[in-house]
Amino acid sequence: MFFIHFFVLGQTCPNPITNNCSDAVAGTSRFYLDGRQNIDFTFDDMNKYVRGITFSGSTQLRLKIDEINPGMCKWKLVMIVENNGHLPNNEWEPLVYYGGSGSIPNLNLIEVSVWNGCGTALYNGVFRTFFNNVNNDTLSIIPDLAVRNLPGPCDGTHINGPGSYLTNYNEFSFNIDYRIKPGFALRPGSYQIRIRFCLVEIP
């Protein structure tokens, strides 16, 4: 029982160790995900294989962060890739195969670009991969910073203090683009991964 509980916790966002921000579930902070929750890449003609498929702005995140302890609330936002425990742990989870030749796609195949109007995201608007290529690999959107950046400047600063998409939309909202260029060496089939977006307060 303990093991199961631990396992579930291990698959979710890291637990915060501070209590400076309001909870997004029972408290007054809010974390919204808009857009499709299933991103389907279907490669069914050669042009798609050659040039890849890009979905722009398929996911939108909106944040409203309220603080409890004035001057102390700080947060980070990360993406975590998961393959449902498939092994080897660097591969997508196969759902069905259509052919016998080729290799299973790796987790670093998918490219993700995060951007907003003020460029607060890390590598704003630049496609990145989960370069460690392993289950539960993490990419930062707003990194774990030592300083607390308050909203307002709209100059690319990684805003991580209290604020809201209602008043500072371009600093508390994020658009996510997805791109896959499969090449010609992969085994035909249907594969799946999950991307978690974790909002966690930090000390």
Binding site: T18, N20, D23, A24, S101, L199
Partner: protein, 256 residues
């Protein structure tokens, strides 16, 4: 009772602390459907006509250089072969005879192997092939020194969509599935791999060499056994004048 109150108080406090912590997550599921795609683009006339109406054409044959260009795009490993086919088993279909028969030794059963092919570039993946010739890359032999079967098209009276045996010619790839990439061309496209000279772009030449008398001396099996009309039907045989047709299929198939 005091202990119970203390425990309840701690419980209430911990619940309060838990709600005060900011942690939340949202998920998206990404599904990728990789469907096998094999595309063969062929540039060729609808019909390639060989009209033998001069004696020198019987002696020297007629060549059609670059008559067919094959361009491949595939998301999976693949093989490519040519197969001669007709309604008349392993012989050309005679559409019309130009004389009443041409005499007792004239034959209207012309072997499909009289059609010769030449490909460029050569088959890049020949592991597992065991025929005398692995592909059609050998230049046409001179008309006065033919090598039966060297460039003869593979043919079958059976299902043309079953890949040839390992003893037959492939334009690219080889029979069966060995793995390791030696018996098939990897997935790719002429769009990105380049055109002439890449593994995804082939130029085909055709030749028919009747000879005089018209016995088609270059016809043969891939083992080198002659299939000229004299070998097939006996001395003094020759082709009956007329119109003949056959079909060449180019088949692109996944190597698996």
């Amino acid at each position: 009772m005091k202990k119970l109150g203390l425990i309840l108080g701690i419980g209430a406090l911990s619940t309060s602390l838990s709600y005060a912590q900011l942690v939340d997550e949202k998920n998206v599921t990404v599904t990728m459907d990789l469907q096998p795609v094999l595309q063969l683009n062929m540039t060729t006339p609808d019909q390639i006509a060989f009209v033998f109406d001069e004696i020198r054409e019987y002696y020297g044959g007629i060549l059609k250089y670059g008559a067919t260009i094959l361009k491949v795009s595939s998301s999976v490993s693949w093989d490519l072969y040519a197969v001669g086919h007709s309604q008349n088993g392993t012989f050309w279909d005679q559409q019309m005879a130009y004389s009443t028969g041409g005499g007792p030794n004239s034959k209207n059963t012309l072997p499909l192997s009289l059609l010769e092919l030449h490909q460029y570039p050569a088959n890049p993946r020949t592991n597992g092939l065991s025929g005398t010739w692995l592909d059609y890359s050998t230049p046409f032999a001179p008309a006065n020194a033919v090598v039966p079967g060297q460039n003869s098209v593979y043919y079958t009276a059976g299902n043309p969509y079953v890949g040839p045996a390992a003893t037959e010619k492939y334009i690219a790839g080889a029979a069966g599935f060995i793995g390791g990439g030696g018996d098939a061309v990897d997935g790719g496209s002429f769009l990105t791999a380049g055109s002439l000279g890449s593994n995804y772009y082939y130029v085909l030449d055709y030749r028919i060499l009747p000879g005089l008398p018209a016995i088609f001396p270059a016809a043969g099996t891939n083992a080198g056994a002659p299939e000229d009309l004299v070998t097939l039907f006996g001395a003094n045989s020759y082709a009956q004048p007329g119109v003949y047709t056959m079909n060449v299929k180019y088949v692109l198939m996944e190597d698996q």
